[in-house]
């Protein structure tokens, strides 16, 4: 069984992002980039399925600029067998990214696609579901447990009130939630080995996909900041402030 894992290069989760001076966009000059944390979980899940003998090949794919090769190499170091970069200099929206990925999936015909539930830059939480719709595949979002059978997968999903288990027919799209697994770190020998693994670069202009943006970014600003509060000296002081000043408890 072949598994395809779409990943995304994003700002490292420790970076506090700020708007540009003219508020036209976020300021991404000289910030540290990394693989989206939910994508790491997706790669890990696919690699574990391969190690368990369920999967035969793990292919990492991304849509983005040439420098996204760095994150594909990370995926290879974590255990993916080969990688594909659908290269573009444009910044695509999730709908366009899903269209490009669905082209790749048509060519690769994996039996399972695992990707992160959301990227921590745009916080959209859309690509997996869109991809499932375009391919008319079943979808299992926010997965915390995945069990593969012959032609189906049983997936436990994190939902607002607790957990839900569904059975999806394969091929399927699964998006990862936090508790699915704890991703490993790439070892130095594996990082070295990853440099020799196959990485195909395909310009998306050749794919015949409509990648036009449907939204315009008008401005980016800082959120309203909170007024600085005070330190209280004791629990007693806190309780009296909450009762008499803030009036939030009685």
């Amino acid at each position: 069984m072949k598994i395809l894992v779409p990943i995304k290069r994003v700002v490292d989760y420790n970076v506090k992002v700020r708007p540009l001076g003219d508020q036209s966009d976020v300021d991404l000059n000289n910030v540290k980039m990394a693989m989206n944390p939910f994508c790491e979980i997706a790669v890990e899940e696919a690699v574990r399925l391969k190690e368990a003998g369920t999967a035969t090949e793990v292919v990492a794919v991304t849509v983005g600029k040439s420098d996204s090769q760095e994150q594909l190499r990370t995926a290879l170091a974590l255990g993916a067998d080969r990688a594909i970069l659908a290269e573009t200099d444009s910044l695509l929206e999730p709908l366009a990214i899903a269209k490009v990925l669905s082209k790749v999936i048509e060519e690769e015909s994996p039996k399972l696609v695992i990707l992160g539930k959301q990227a921590i830059d745009g916080d959209n939480n859309q690509t997996g579901q869109m991809l499932a719709a375009m391919l008319n595949y079943s979808q299992a979002t926010f997965a915390s447990e995945v069990i593969i059978d012959e032609d189906s997968a049983s997936v436990t999903r994190e939902i607002d009130g607790g957990l839900q288990t569904i059975k999806v027919s394969l091929p399927a799209i699964i998006t990862t939630d936090l508790r699915l697994n704890e991703p490993r770190y790439a070892s130095l020998p594996n990082i070295m080995k990853a440099k020799k693994k196959e990485l195909d670069v395909k310009p998306i202009e050749e794919m015949g996909v409509d990648i036009n943006n449907r939204m315009e970014l008008l401005s980016v600003e800082l959120p309203a900041s909170r007024q600085e509060g005070i330190k209280v000296e004791s629990v007693e002081d806190l309780v009296s402030k909450l009762k008499e000043e803030a009036k939030v408890i009685s």
Partner: protein
């Protein structure tokens, strides 16, 4: 111009976030319709017909819709979509699951988790864990939108008089089937609907120690939450998680205990009206957003707090 809101419910009652979503829809100055898909869910339609601001309810009652699976639900919404300029759902795990699928079926770019409506095609939404707020304009003919419930005050659940119209099931999918559900049972209010929330972080040191928070929660009628660190450490289940990738809350009072205040956690609670932080590290970033900060060992402070309430 008509606006369609997708109801969220458990086949018996409407979920509160639907009322916040209707409130957002009302700001768009059109007739607001509500779509209810479910199984034996007439009582939901009866309840919803009293909700303020809705003129018509569409109900599709079919066994296939019982568990609100994305495939069939998205197909159903698509069958009526051309009548609407905007389609809205709450940014809950239900809305986040179904709406992007619908959006791709309609070939439109969804606008996720809006916090403000600027005009009928322009919206504000947080990005990068709420570090920045983006204003975006959609050029799609149908706007598919998820709504951050805490950013819109709910409409009244009474005073309305919507008509109810049955619609046929459409294109039911058998790609996915429901196996089971484990819904946490609690006498405490739901995290996203509670007016007081008390959350614990890594500083709690173990899941057992959460009983210190529960004792206070019971006295205050509060919900109990947690930071991602506490969930990752296995102290509590994921449905406790408040933050960028968990639940977004905005209660009247939020008490953060043993939580350092990573940006990912702040993203989920910084719109609370009053924030209290209890942490032994006086440099913890949580104090920068707290109205009242108490530098103390939580294992002393919590029992004392419980006693004084």
């Amino acid at each position: 111009m008509s606006i369609l809101v997708i109801a969220e419910h458990d086949n018996a009652n409407l979920k509160p976030a639907t009322l916040n979503t209707v409130a957002a829809a009302k700001e768009l100055n059109g007739e607001v319709h509500l779509l209810i898909s479910g199984n034996s869910c007439q009582s939901v339609a009866d309840e919803a017909s009293g909700v303020e601001g809705i003129s018509k309810i569409l109900i599709s009652d079919n066994a296939a819709y019982e568990n609100h699976l994305a495939e069939s639900t998205a197909n159903l919404i698509k069958s009526v979509a051309s009548n609407y300029s905007h389609i809205l759902a709450a940014a809950t795990t239900f809305g986040k699951n179904v709406l992007p699928r619908l959006s791709a079926l309609l070939d439109v770019q969804q606008i996720s988790e809006i916090t403000e409506i600027v005009s009928e095609d322009t919206f504000k939404r947080p990005i990068y864990a709420g570090s920045c707020i983006a204003t975006v304009k959609s050029n799609d003919s149908i706007k598919v939108i998820t709504v951050r419930a805490t950013a819109f005050d709910p409409v009244n659940s009474s005073g309305g008089s919507a008509s109810i119209e049955n619609i046929d099931a459409d294109n039911i999918s058998d790609l996915t089937s429901f196996v089971g559900e484990e819904i946490a049972q609690s006498d405490r209010p739901e995290l996203t609907a509670a007016s007081i929330v008390i959350s614990g972080g890594r500083g709690m040191q173990s899941g057992d120690n959460f009983h210190l928070l529960e004792a206070i929660a019971d006295k205050l009628g509060a919900a109990v939450g947690a930071s991602r660190a506490a969930v990752d450490a296995g102290f509590v289940p994921n449905d406790y998680q408040v933050g960028q990738t968990g639940k977004i809350v905005a209660p009247d009072l939020y008490i953060a205990v043993g939580i350092s205040g990573a940006i990912q956690h702040l993203a989920g609670m910084k719109d609370s009206k009053v924030i209290v932080a209890i942490n032994k590290d006086e440099d913890a970033p949580i104090f920068q957003v707290a109205d009242y900060g108490l530098v103390a060992d939580l294992f002393n402070a919590l029992p004392e707090l419980s006693e004084q309430l």
